[in-house]
Symmetry: none
Subunit: 417 residues, 2 copies
């Protein structure tokens, strides 16, 4: 059984935007034993899209369209699928009421073109979209004498992902022959892909029945293990066996063995130790705070902190002595130390991390001029000792900031361990 994914939208034919939904959908389909054999990206053009859907119906068993379900003239997926299949659309009374209600609740007047979003393919089931106004559609039909599943899904990633996972996957699982998959995800920060691969490939290559994928990006390496077996027990046993061997090899370098993010792990460890963290960030400008705060219930272990971009605020908000800043510059071991200890004083906390560095461009005046881009100092105070770490991070401003935040969280994790 093979699938085609059609991403609809002219923006994905520009140099700046790319279809990414298909990756998520592919993962789900693969779990159910369905291979994606074709992906097409088609603009908001009636003839092109209708033809492309017809081609897809001719070569795939499952056709999944993402995008083109919005309210504008450009949103043509519904009409083109109807035309390709030779069926008609009808307004769904429940959708009409729900949409009118949605606008009424917000005290907005509904623009008339929103009515398009209530049109449903004859014979299709409406898939409720919890995160947007455009519902999905599921049509179990025939084309050229063969059974075809046609799914219409919204384009925005935050709409399609839950709709696919929560609504389409159970439906697909009930429709397709049964299969059991076990997966595991190990995550490792700050090491290179080649180092991780050199250490782990002698192990995972012995597990031919477990599919291993190594993904690198954003300062971390992920090892994904997937195994399909007739029973879930068999699949889980194989994945666990491989995981244990890799954990033994990589040891403490693995920060997460069930896919949790580094910030989730750090917050979990702080919670277990009943510690409250405060931060003093300069070059990362709030990035570490933001990453921690993005986790649900972060407030249990994260108090907050300061973003001290200017030298003056390092003094005002962290109590760093002006002489220290003048003598050593903001990006220095003594200032990092003073920031970490100072933020504890101003907040009344005992546990802090401070970050100061040059994210780029280079500083051309004052005591930090001449210091290299990528020079970063991290300080960690736990109420007894303060440790300071000097880093040299290569790359542009964005990379220096991201890797600095990884180093800061990883320093915290290793300290808490």
């Amino acid at each position: 059984m093979i699938a085609e994914i059609i991403a609809v939208g002219s923006e994905m034919l520009t140099p700046d935007r790319q279809d990414t939904n298909s990756l998520h959908v592919t993962r789900g389909l693969n779990d159910l034993g369905v291979a994606v054999a074709f992906k097409s990206i088609i603009g908001d053009n009636r003839q092109h899209l209708t033809d492309a859907i017809r081609i897809a119906l001719g070569r795939a068993d499952i056709v999944i369209c993402s995008g083109g379900l919005g309210p504008t003239e450009d949103d043509l997926t519904r009409e083109c699928v109807a035309e390709a299949l030779g069926i008609t659309l009808h307004p769904d009374p429940e959708l009409v009421v729900a949409l009118a209600k949605r606008f009424a609740e917000r005290r907005q007047v509904m623009p008339p073109n929103n009515q398009r979003q209530t049109e449903v393919l004859d014979g299709a089931i409406v898939l409720p979209n919890a995160h947007g106004t455009a519902p999905g559609q599921w049509l179990d039909t025939t084309f050229g004498g063969h059974r075809k599943l046609v799914l219409l899904l919204p384009g925005p990633p935050r709409e399609i992902k839950p709709l696919f996972d929560d609504v389409c996957m159970p439906r697909l699982a009930a429709t397709l022959p049964p299969r059991h998959i076990a997966r595991r995800q190990l995550r490792i920060a700050l090491l290179s892909e080649s180092v991780v691969d050199a250490r782990t490939s002698p192990i995972y290559q012995r597990f031919q029945d477990v599919e291993t994928t190594i993904l690198a990006g954003r300062g971390e390496i992920q090892l994904h293990f997937v195994c399909a077996k007739p029973t879930l027990e068999e699949a889980t046993a194989r994945v666990n066996e491989l995981t244990e061997l890799v954990e033994h090899e990589m040891g403490d370098d693995i920060f997460s063995s069930h896919g949790e993010s580094l910030e989730e792990i750090v917050l979990l460890m702080l919670g277990l130790r009943d510690q409250k963290l405060v931060l003093a960030e300069s070059c990362t400008g709030g990035l570490v705070a933001e990453r921690l705060a993005s986790v649900v219930n972060a407030s249990r272990s994260f108090e907050g902190g300061v973003v001290v971009y200017s030298a003056e605020q390092k003094t005002r908000l962290c109590g760093v002595a002006p002489e220290l800043l003048e003598k050593h510059g903001s990006v220095s071991e003594p200032v990092a130390r003073a920031m970490a200890e100072g933020i504890c004083r101003t907040t009344g906390c005992t546990f802090s991390v401070a970050i100061t560095g040059i994210a780029g461009p280079a500083v051309t005046e004052g005591p930090d001029s001449g210091k290299p881009v990528g020079l970063v100092y991290l300080a960690l105070t736990d109420g007894e000792d303060t440790q300071v770490k000097e880093l040299r991070i290569s790359g542009d401003r964005e990379r220096v900031r991201l890797w600095t935040s990884q180093h800061a969280l990883e320093l915290l994790r290793r300290h808490l361990q």
Copy 2:
């Protein structure tokens, strides 16, 4: 004139790998006035690929294949293009010599399947690949009575990019009629796509020669205008004409008319007014700071601020009176006001924005319990007045935080305007 890009390779049909070459190729084609109307991703399957090439030849003037030119059995692009066009392949004597020499220089024995890389489509020109063993091919031919350009390019990004830029682009420019492209990007925060479309479509629909794309996401709408004309002056004039009419309709709602981000615009305006901004963030947890700090040279107008996640830190770092917090709760109009005014006192600045809200999940104890998720207060102080705005933002934690940061930056922008 329209193009199709076919990315060949089964790895790009997995959940973990994506075609990215097409973005680079699209940018080059667009610069020459060629729109990419279709992108296809096809696995290493003879029948699928031959059919896909035939479909592409039927609907596009230029067909560019990337990948599938290597030496292995899996590398099928040459053969499938030949079959789709009904022509044959022949070994190119120069390529045979060059390849043999390459292996000899490295003192390696050439595996016999490497010969595949010397096979050239009848009538094609060989495009030398400076970074790999697989050369590209350029075929100017006809299909179904129409002239077609067919390009075969290697898959690895470090091979295709220089080959496309240095060899294909000059050839394409010499082959295609001279055309020039003008582009413009308008950005609008906080409005819905349907509202923006309802207000602008009567205008942009009158400009059939300007391609308009509306992109929605992350709390903003982008309007992209692209126009191709024989001269750059004509193209620019049309795009500017449309831009002016849309600017007249949307007025102040447009925050950027040359594609700058909201944070860039806010920093620019602060700089022009010689203002220094400080922030006090609760529910956004550093997100607004992080967005501002991501801009190069943000430090000229952004001093920093505090992330005050706990009630205690609202008092310690912003000087909010504990009685106020107890009486009204952290998420309240008086506390937002006190945070904005307090952060100015502690930092010695005159211009601040404070943010407090419930990003989710709901608060179950203390003075904020019972307040709805999505309730947010923004306060802005400019040294003279403090204004407070109450918001109700729908959606999950991530959406509430993101939209709150958009509202905060947009409040700042409108105030500075």
